[in-house]
Amino acid sequence: MGHKNESDGLDIPNRIHARPVFRPGSLIAGVIVAFLAVMLGYGMITNDNFDWPIVWKYLFNEHVLNGIGWTLVLTVTSMLIAIVLAVLLAVMRKSVNPVLRGVSWFWIWFFRGTPIYTQLVFWGLFSVLIPTISLGIPFTHLNFWSMSTEQLNKFISPGFLAAMLGLALNESAYLAEIVRAGLEAVDPGQSEAAEALGMPRTMIMRRVVLPQAMRIIVPPTGNEVISMLKTTSLVSAVPFSLEIQFATNAIANRIYKPIPLLMVACFWYLVITSILMVAQSWIERYFGKGFNEGSNGPAAGDGDAKEEKPAAKVAEGNEGGTAFLGLNA
């Protein structure tokens, strides 16, 4: 009766309408969890210590917005540097040259093996360690150009360079392993086919291997970007004092209200993270090209790819096809 009204629109005369299995456990668990969630939400709204009016007051505060800007700049710049370094390190790691392999291994070993906080403190002391940077011929007294690191530091914003480098170098070690895993996941037959076509090694990497590795690299890298966004809250170790965690903390100390300002920071971190997640899914779709189309028909065509027709049938009614029919006979 009315079997055509099903949502799939298919005409199945003997469609089964059976009662589902009754699962009391899942029902009880659902009720308990929903109750706990409501309790938590109610608590958050009614608990005066959250000081929601203060949260609203400072949500769009000038220092807070400024802090978001610096957090984003730090995240983006250090991530970009890290990505470039990571690709370099991953390619070096697979190199035939033992020096390149060794340096890459050591780099990853060092930056992955020490805490980011320690590294940031260390970079903060960079100007103590190396007071001047100069351009000249090593091991001689010839100098073309020099600048004190203190000067360089002030040129942008105090602590910014150290914070950016600290985050980037640390991140590069993790990303390098992700990139390496991506490169290794590409079928070696791909490189062989490209080699057989006469492509040089760098072109094979750029046009064949990397684009396919990206499909594997992007999801964990999205994770790393989000992780990087939050790690920027540690750069007070340098110290760099303009990003959002430091900015909200400074306001909190001034008005003696730490909790509402933590909520402000959480709110903005969540907003940015959500935007990043959307961006990630776009990028994943782009690099999934050729892997996701399985059921969606051709890239630009008539959309009948789903039904696998035998070649001879496909060939009917077009010139190339008829020629092929002849070949097969």
Partner: protein, 287 residues
């Protein structure tokens, strides 16, 4: 088929040039320069001795079919010709030119010098290769797969490369699938595209490494059909396969390899009248 004849005459013109280069004396009839000449080829992977002195001559315009049980070194031999592996001993000449090495005068002594990546890439342009697992680039459409090497290696302008790519696709009956991604195609269709991709670089010799072994039985015919048409068009081919029927029908030269040596070779008639017991035994299992 018409453009095929043009290709072929181009090929022969170049063959003549190179023939006169490598053999310095009187101009040689180009038919006498073998497309591939292997002399006492040895290959070892570590302590595993895979090829133990292979001699083989493939004349231009002929089809050589290499038969043999798995592990006999057939594929390795094919990969050596295309320099996907390096020789351990012996020499291979493609179109009269030594591959992988060149002779240099080192302090008055004649020595072998390994070719650099660019020189190897140039030598590979003469060879087209079709793999068992197709190895199409999954992130590029059928048309992009075929255009890839002409545009980026041979630097053919895009419009012209596209036109030629479509011709090659028509030749293998895949023109109507130009905008599909490889994963949307059946195995047989993918292999036909792979053949078109190799042909797009106008190679002098096509190497087929078990082109139908990864296909469902009902798809084998369409790929063999395309290969047959290439043979009819006079393309030099070396085919490693288990398709005895194809070997008998299309092969000009049949080579049976086992245990890293050539056990028996000759015209297609040797399939029906094998002399060596090992070849007889192999055929009785395959046929």
């Amino acid at each position: 088929m018409n453009d095929m004849t043009t290709n072929d005459s181009n090929t022969q013109a170049t063959t003549e040039q190179q023939g006169s280069e490598s053999v310095a004396q009187t101009p040689v009839d180009n038919a006498t320069v073998p497309a591939v000449k292997a002399t006492q080829v040895h290959k070892a992977f570590g302590s595993l001795h895979v090829l133990k002195g292979i001699d083989m001559t493939v004349m231009p315009g002929t089809v050589t079919v290499i038969l043999g049980p798995s592990g006999s070194g057939k594929s390795t031999f094919l990969r050596l010709i295309n320099q996907l592996e390096t020789l351990t001993g012996g020499s291979i000449e493609v179109d009269g030119e030594l591959i992988g090495y060149k002779h240099v005068n080192h302090g008055g002594k004649d020595e072998l010098q390994t070719l650099n990546d660019k020189e190897i890439a140039e030598q590979r342009e003469k060879l087209g290769m079709v793999f068992q697992r197709f190895n199409l680039f999954p992130h590029r459409t059928v048309l992009e797969n075929v255009m890839e090497a002409p545009v980026h290696v041979a630097k053919v302008p895009k419009a012209k490369a596209k036109e030629e790519a479509m011709k090659e696709l028509e030749r293998v009956g895949m023109a109507d699938r130009a905008d599909y991604y490889p994963m949307q195609l059946s195995g047989g269709q993918q292999q036909r595209v792979a053949i078109a991709r190799a042909l797009a670089m106008n190679p002098k010799i096509m190497l087929f490494d078990e082109p139908t072994s990864a296909l469902d039985p009902e798809l084998v015919g369409e790929v063999l059909g395309v290969m047959r048409s290439l043979a009819d068009a006079g393309i030099t081919m070396i085919v490693v396969t288990h398709e005895i029927g194809f070997a008998r029908e299309v092969g000009d030269q049949i080579v049976f390899m086992d245990g890293g040596v050539v056990v028996e070779h000759g015209g297609p008639e040797i399939i029906d009248h094998p002399q060596e017991p090992r070849f007889k035994d192999f055929l009785s299992h395959v046929l």
